[in-house]
């Protein structure tokens, strides 16, 4: 009995120690990657290629999703606002919900699914194919050459994608609200411009999307780099990327919203 209890407590201790150690390992890795970021200025070509790979390829899914989220916001917002006879506020509702919340968060979730998984799979397969070890043999640092440009590519691409998402969402809301339903066009824009603050709403939305960009890209790279060098290992790492980065984005969103908009 006593041994059983001691074993369980040991299990718990091991569980906590392993998890804390892996968080610490990831944090150390992040600091290392930031420390080797000077390649961003020396060979911007590498980063530009990653912006192409992460940003341009995600453009279509982000643009279409933004447009459709805008459509839905227009319809649902009109339904609710119409009950209070204030359908002119539709523009404000669409713009605020997109710039403050939906733009950064939905873009980050889509980005994790579209770009994060491909990063993890790419790095994981590079590792499984021993390309990373080969680079080390040639005295090329794989973190500097492979991981850092991808991290910065993600950090640069993510806020741009979120802005595209929000802008197209507002266009979508306009199309449904003004063109389809017939809300007054002048009121739609003037209520929006009266209620949306450039620094407080749009600026904080951009800050959010930068934070999400760092989180999603880093988690994807870390999972790929630490994956087991087998087909199962890579598939597991890809799944974990989506799960962990989605949860991280939602948790970070709550924290950031509490800090930014609580007053």
């Amino acid at each position: 009995m006593r041994n059983f209890l001691a074993d369980r407590i040991t299990d718990l201790g091991t569980f906590v120690r392993v998890n804390v150690a892996s968080i610490g390992h990831a944090a150390k890795m992040f600091v290392v990657m930031l420390g080797r970021s000077s390649i961003l200025f020396k060979r911007f070509r590498l980063v530009a290629d990653q912006i192409f790979f992460l940003g341009n390829y995600s453009f279509v899914i982000i643009a279409v999703s933004g447009l459709f989220v805008g459509f839905v916001l227009g319809l649902q917002g009109y339904y609710t606002l119409n009950k209070y006879g204030s359908e002119q506020a539709l523009g404000l509702l669409v713009a605020l919900s997109l710039t403050r919340e939906l733009g950064p968060v939905v873009t980050a979730l889509l980005f994790a699914g579209r770009a994060g998984t491909s990063l993890t799979a790419e790095i994981g397969l590079m590792k499984a194919g021993e390309q990373l070890s080969a680079m080390e043999m040639m005295a090329v640092d794989p973190i500097t050459r492979v991981l850092v440009p991808r991290l910065w590519g993600g950090i640069i691409a993510m806020p741009l994608l979120a802005a595209i998402f929000s802008a197209l969402g507002i266009v979508g809301g306009y199309l449904v609200g003004v063109v389809l339903i017939g809300v007054d066009s002048g009121a739609f824009w003037s209520q929006m411009q009266g209620g949306v603050d450039v620094i407080k709403d749009i600026g904080n939305g951009v800050v959010k999307s930068v934070v999400f960009g760092i989180a999603v890209t880093f988690i994807a790279l870390y999972q790929g780099y630490e994956s087991k060098a087998t087909p199962e290992g890579v598939s597991l790492a890809t799944t974990r990327t989506v799960v962990i980065s989605s949860l991280t984005v939602l948790a970070l969103d709550f924290l950031l919203t509490a800090v930014m908009f609580s007053t």
Partner: protein, 161 residues
């Protein structure tokens, strides 16, 4: 530096991204109506500011002429001290009065300025002496009920006798 076919698409993507931010700032936000023109500061004291918030608009004849910079409590005379930033283009006479008004029934509160007839103008750091507090719904209702009770008291008392 060698240019690749990627460069065009990367450039296009970045340009579209910045255009989207610009669209948000100009079309959705109030950047276009944001005035970077110089302002001067005026102070006014109110008995009660109601729900007035910093950055609330200051309007004269319905046109925005400035914004509320700060609201603080003055413990010398127990009044609310409101600091205005007025656009330097607009000058107001010294006996201008300030009212706290509400846009619509449930809308945001703002400050309305009514120009007086004084020959001298308010300068930087000037003080508006004539102020009218915000309308507080509770006190209006209690006043109304009080008057109603007083009226009915007068009306009913002769009947009883």
């Amino acid at each position: 530096m060698k240019k690749t076919v990627f460069d065009f698409w990367v450039g296009l993507f970045v340009a579209i991204g910045f255009l989207a931010i610009l669209f948000l700032a100009l079309k959705a936000g109030n950047m276009s109506s944001f005035s970077f023109s110089k302002t001067y500061t005026i102070v006014a004291s109110f008995d009660n500011i109601g729900g007035l918030k910093p950055r609330a608009p200051i309007k004269s004849a319905g046109v925005v002429v400035g914004r509320v910079a700060a609201i603080e409590f003055d413990d010398q005379n127990y009044l609310a001290r409101v600091v205005f930033n007025l656009d330097e283009r607009y000058r107001f006479p010294k006996d201008t009065s300030a009212k706290i008004l509400t846009s619509g029934i449930l809308g945001e509160q703002y400050i309305g300025l009514e120009a007086g007839g004084d020959a001298q103008y308010l300068a930087e750091g000037g003080k508006i002496t004539q102020t009218q507090s915000a309308m507080v719904l509770e006190s209006l209702i209690s006043q109304f009920l009080y008057n109603k009770a007083a009226d009915s008291g007068q009306n009913s008392s002769p009947e009883k006798k």
